[in-house]
């Protein structure tokens, strides 16, 4: 069995998302998305409630009293971190797990996904055609699911993969991943999305977030938003380790978004300030300055 087949087999064996999590995703992608509706879905679903309360009590472990209601958790976390926490129920790993294959420390993935979600939400403010904010946020949060599946297979290979990209032997880190594995994190993420029965927007985002021009036309504004959000997350210092900066910007974004130096700088600053809020909740867990990092 090839490594690619092993990975695809592992995806087939990955447990499906709960009905509650699927309902949560429907809310994020609905036209009338609101944070109140997210809170309602989380409150009504015991597994999601438990996930949020566990995360809230981890984030605010210094509090004397345990956080016992979803509403209280949302109040303490703020809407952005609450949305991130709820969507992290989709991760097939603990939300602060390191990506060892990418040499990314504990919480780095979560931090990067938050940054991409916030960045995508910022860029759609300048979209030439409307993009639904909940969809942009959720897509940004979940765009790198494929890396979770590949990380184990890439252990110890990151320096070699970086070298082939920097030597221009391949075009980007996706190409480099395909060398030893026969599959990259975008294709892997799309396969996981299909296994889970995720909506077509998410499938397109997971598959094409590094090459948005290849997405179906109807989905391109959303896929480009995540593509740009991904860049803002990295520029703001929230990368996933060895692959940071080793992708190209698809310049087709100008067909879908107004752009200027100021727009980019405001988006990156907004992402940075959201990282700070996450760090204020828990400085040593999500890749913040206090977290342990392999880069030390």
């Amino acid at each position: 069995m090839s490594v690619r087949e092993d990975i695809l087999q592992e995806i087939e064996e990955t447990p499906l998302l709960s009905q509650g999590t699927m309902r949560l995703l429907d809310i994020f992608f609905s036209e009338d998305f609101t944070q109140d509706k997210v809170e309602d879905v989380v409150t009504e679903d015991p597994a999601l409630s438990s996930h949020i309360l566990k995360m809230a009590n981890t984030l605010f472990h210094a509090r004397e009293e345990e956080i016992s209601s979803v509403a209280e958790a949302r109040g303490l976390m703020g809407d952005t971190v609450f949305a991130v926490a709820s969507l992290s129920s989709c991760f097939p790993c603990s939300c602060d797990a390191p990506l060892e294959g990418y040499e990314a420390g504990r919480g780095a993935l979560m931090r990067h996904c938050l940054g991409t979600a916030v960045g995508a939400r910022e860029f759609i403010k300048n979209a030439r055609a409307p993009v639904q904010p909940g969809a942009a946020f959720a897509s940004g949060m979940l765009h790198d699911l494929g890396k979770i599946m590949l990380s184990e297979y890439l252990k110890g290979k990151a320096p070699e993969l970086m070298e082939v990209v920097l030597a221009h032997e391949v075009g980007d880190f996706l190409d480099a991943e395909r060398g030893p594995l026969g599959i990259d994190h975008a294709e892997t993420g799309a396969a996981l999305a299909e296994h889970w029965g995720l909506n077509s927007s998410l499938r397109q985002v997971l598959r094409f977030h590094h090459h948005p021009a290849e997405a179906e036309e109807a989905y391109r504004p959303l896929v480009y938003a995540v593509h740009l959000g991904d860049v803002a997350a990295i520029l703001g210092g929230g990368d996933t380790g060895a692959d940071a900066f080793l992708y190209h910007i698809d310049e087709g974004y100008s067909g879908y978004f107004k752009m200027s130096d100021d727009i980019v700088e405001r988006a990156v600053l907004t992402v940075t300030m959201e990282y700070e809020k996450l760090d204020a909740c828990c400085p040593d867990r999500f890749g913040g300055a206090g977290a342990s990092r392999p880069t030390g």
């Binding site: 910007i249 100008s254 700088e265 990156v268 700070e276 880069t295």
Partner: protein
């Protein structure tokens, strides 16, 4: 035992304690300006994110280190009492960070804009960086040992190196 002073984005720090190491993590497009007074053995560092404070004036008041045009003066002012003097005499300055993504339109070249703005601001003070490790396509974590002024850089997938 070393005591690590950790700086986040927009933070700045200065110390003359010989047990202190000043460190900032994950410099993407951000740049660390590192200054060291050879005589007084005082180190300072600021982690700047963007060139100009006009992007967010409220933030500039709260965390002037976020921007080049407010961060440099603020760092020099923070170091002055520890040095027992102000000005550029005896000050060694290094720049680290400012990575870039490939973007022909240059809207996303924040790293490059940060480095250019810092060089300009330092020139205004008649300070010229002695060493730079800037640009490229990788993020950096940088530390300075106050006792020695030695600057070390790490990055995922690479061995530690000294600037």
């Amino acid at each position: 035992m070393a005591k690590v002073m950790i700086l986040g984005v927009g933070d700045l720090g200065a110390s003359k304690s010989h047990v202190v190491v000043i460190r900032t993590f994950a410099l993407g497009s951000c740049v660390a300006l590192i200054a060291y007074d050879l005589k007084a053995k005082v180190a300072g560092m600021v982690h700047v994110a963007l060139p100009e404070s006009r992007i967010n004036l409220t933030r500039a008041k709260l965390k002037p280190g976020t921007f080049v045009d407010t961060g440099v003066d603020t760092l020099l002012a923070a170091m002055a009492p520890l040095r027992g003097r102000s000005g550029r005499s005896g000050l060694v300055v290094k720049l680290v960070g400012g990575a870039n993504v490939m973007d022909k339109k240059n809207f996303f070249a924040i790293g490059q804009r940060n480095v250019e703005a810092l060089r300009g601001e330092l020139t205004r003070h008649r300070i010229f960086p002695m060493a730079e490790d800037v640009g490229g396509s990788f993020s950096r974590t940088v530390s300075i040992q106050v006792a020695t002024g030695r600057v070390y850089i790490t990055s995922p997938g690479r061995d530690i190196w000294e600037l």
